[in-house]
Subunit: 278 residues, 2 copies
């Protein structure tokens, strides 16, 4: 019943015309979109690989709300040069703001467990602002979001507020963020593949089966693939320093929910998280 | 069973020492934290009312990851002056970045429906990056997050990259964001109160009861309170321009999931969302 609705949704969504400005999926995330849409339990509803933009708005304090009514002076899904920024800013007549907007992906999921798997992968890959939306009609959307941005005011009423050196520095910084963004995208892809493999193994094997690291499953999973999962586990710890918010410890809740044991039953064995569950 | 676990979690969490730097809940959101913790189906696990910070890091491209190893040059949960920024930057020896970090709140919820209610309220109040986390142990955390930030590099290896005029402009902009943040916080509080009232009415009244706008319920709900809900519904449309992402229409998924009819069965009657459900 529920599955029928989901596959109908999926068919309907994937047959729609892409209504984005660009009209197609960004090149750097095509492999992720293809992987997810090729699995029956997922389909992507929107995505952006990450971009550097400059927008000209009337209300500098509210560039987010005003995005609709503003002029796009520059958009790039690749690295930019200081010259790109300079020539974009030449056309500013209001308040221009440069933003680096990282990878974002919305995935509709068949079941809550499917969404939990993608969420776990997203968090472990460095996308700490990821989260689910569960609609009353049964729609489950998992949003992959990063905290990794940049939002820099550059002109006021058409007048440049910074010098050329600053624009050079900013272009460099935005490009570094673009690189880090790509690294996280690829980590997400690899972790997603590992998690899907692990999940498949779990479905095929009852939990008490010993020696899960032997070659099993349709795709011939080997020790090597399981150690990939191990790498991903260790990596996670480096990427998530203790968040420091004012009351409590911020996003550590999320880390705690998605401890290594949640996802990595097969690869487990190094003792799990160090902090006791609350 | 599940409720017992939740109330145990809640008791344990609320009896803990506040481990944040500040050691207490921020003043501007005390009413929200008190409201939620006073209801049996919720408790807050971390929060920040919003702040302007300047941090000095060794790796400018990775200020998010490096937050732990950096020096905090400035933190304010209220408005700032240009002088505040100047004197903070005087102490920079690495790469200083100013950030405006908006309101963030983590709420643990008893049931998925409780989390959906808070999520719906958050989205409708302008906190578009909000989302749920559902752990395998049954823990449900709703994170209220905004897209409304600022992240501006200001020094490189201790050398200031911008002029005094820029710092004046930036202080003004950060303060505008702080004001908008407070407006959204108060909207969230009001919408939360309305939604909780509406929910209570729904629980007491079977769906087919006619004339729901008459005075019913323990708290003597009147037409006035229902029209408050109406205001919130209209407001929602202004605050959520069509998101523009590269593939599809970004966060409009979330808006669609939480259309007015989801939350506002009692106040309904103006036709719901204009876009057909996908």
């Amino acid at each position: 019943m529920m599955d029928k609705t989901f596959s109908q949704w999926k068919q309907q969504c994937l047959s729609k015309v892409d209504l984005s400005k660009k009209g197609s999926v960004d090149q750097d995330i095509e492999h992720i979109v293809t992987l997810l849409n090729g699995l029956e339990q997922f389909f992507t509803t929107s995505s952006c690989s990450g971009r550097i933009i400059i927008i000209d708005t009337a209300a500098p304090g509210d560039s987010d709300v005003q995005k609709q009514n503003c002029i796009w002076l520059f958009v790039s899904h690749q690295k930019c040069t200081a010259d790109d920024l300079v020539s974009a800013l030449d056309r500013s007549s209001k308040d221009a703001v440069l933003k680096f907007e990282p990878f974002v992906l919305h995935v509709q999921c068949r079941k809550l467990e499917d969404a939990q798997l993608v969420h776990s992968v997203a968090i472990n890959s460095g996308f700490r602002n990821s989260g689910l939306t569960v609609g009353k009609t049964g729609k489950i959307i998992m949003a992959v979001r990063s905290t990794h941005g940049l939002e820099v005011p550059l002109s006021h009423e058409g007048k440049l507020l910074v010098g050329q050196d600053y624009l050079h520095f900013l272009a460099q910084l935005a490009n570094q963020k673009m690189e880090e963004n790509l690294r996280r995208i690829n980590r997400f892809y690899q972790n997603l593949q590992s998690a899907l493999t692990t999940e498949k193994l779990q479905l095929q094997d009852p939990p008490d089966t010993q020696e899960p690291q032997h070659t099993i499953g349709q795709q011939g999973t080997t020790k090597e693939e399981l150690s990939k999962t191990g790498v991903y586990k260790r990596r996670r710890r480096r990427d998530h320093p203790q968040a420091d918010c004012c009351d409590g410890d911020g996003d550590s809740d999320v880390q705690e929910l998605y401890g290594p044991l949640d996802l990595l039953i097969l690869g487990g064995g190094d003792g799990g998280t160090s902090s006791p569950p609350v």
